[in-house]
Symmetry: C2
Subunit: 211 residues, 2 copies
């Protein structure tokens, strides 16, 4: 059962499928959906034109796969940034910091495929996906807030739903500013202050002295 039927028979592929998809992500990320031609994808993915069509399909299909894979990776990383820290403030700061850092990474396009690029794609399936991605993001933050109530870090009447939406809206704002070139340093400071805004008036343990 270990011997996983080994290799397929014919000529082996010269590229790695998931690797090629990640490269496609970068292409869409930097040029936007409509700005990308098939030749851009051929060049960026390192996959020949016919193989590209045979294995991935047309531009729309490639984008959908790239978007979903990217959203999964990024969602996992954001979840980790949000749920790993002990204190609530570290969680929210971590979440916003991650948004800023991944949107200002060297060697990658600025901004975020989900936040900046995908909303401009006029496609019903993309739109549905984004709706659920947004809902998933706020649900995640909401969950962290509820945990904080259980832990007694914020009062039970903490407005969980409203604050979760605000955290994600602030993250969107930071990410869009990253796209237009606002420096990482500025955004990191803003992320910190955004976390303060959302939390400090409520935190039982720390209080409001920093405001």
């Amino acid at each position: 059962m270990i011997q996983n039927t080994a290799r397929p028979r014919g000529r082996p592929r010269s590229f790695d499928e998931t690797g090629a998809l990640e490269k496609a992500t970068q292409v869409f990320w930097s040029k936007g959906y409509d700005g990308v031609t098939i030749d851009d994808l051929v060049a960026g993915m390192g996959v020949g034109r016919p193989s590209l069509y045979a294995i991935f399909g047309d531009k729309r299909a490639i984008f959908l796969r790239a978007l979903k894979a990217y959203a999964e990776r990024k969602g996992a990383a954001a979840t980790k940034a949000l749920l790993a820290p002990q204190t609530l403030r570290d969680s929210i700061v971590g979440f916003l910091r991650y948004a800023v850092e991944s949107a200002t990474e060297k060697g990658s396009a600025r901004g975020c495929l989900v936040v900046c690029v995908a909303p401009l794609v006029n496609d019903a399936e993309v739109q549905r996906f984004l709706q659920s991605a947004v809902a998933g993001g706020t649900a995640l933050v909401e969950r962290r807030f509820r945990d904080a109530i259980s832990a007694g870090d914020v009062p039970p009447d903490f407005p969980v739903a409203a604050r979760a939406i605000q955290v994600t809206d602030l993250a969107r704002g930071l990410t869009m500013r990253a796209r237009i070139g606002t420096p990482r340093k500025t955004l990191l400071k803003d992320a910190e202050e955004a976390a303060d805004l959302v939390l400090l008036p409520h935190l039982k343990t720390i209080g409001k002295q920093k405001l």
Copy 2:
């Protein structure tokens, strides 16, 4: 001096220049920069192809003019929404409401040309323009906060700069959600709560009872 040398000589134009530009704005707004072809502009602006090139130039030139004109109109309206109301809360709510309403107008594309579309245009001049537009927006909100300090509506140590950035980031977040189809009603409620977030802990006159 009144008689402004009247009409130019040849055949009169069949379109209005600024009107055609506004129509171009709608085209870019709904399809994004790269999604627009010259034929889209010809159809949307009601200007023949040769006239379009002769009078407006190529796609990039049209976009730049449309963007700047749109930003001016919208900036003026936002300024009015922000500076007209008496109370600070009405100002911030008005500002955020205006962002939501103009991003969810019936008969127009969703979102905002400046916030959603222009950041994806890979062009140095567009990027510079957006940087200054963002700076102008936060400066406007900052000014309103300073007025509120002068009026004694918030304490003198109110964190003017941080709150201004947060208000505009929240507006960006709301606008991006408008683009992906979040209903106006939802966004209007979120705008209201966002204003509360930014203000309620500080307001001297109303207090914090609503939190």
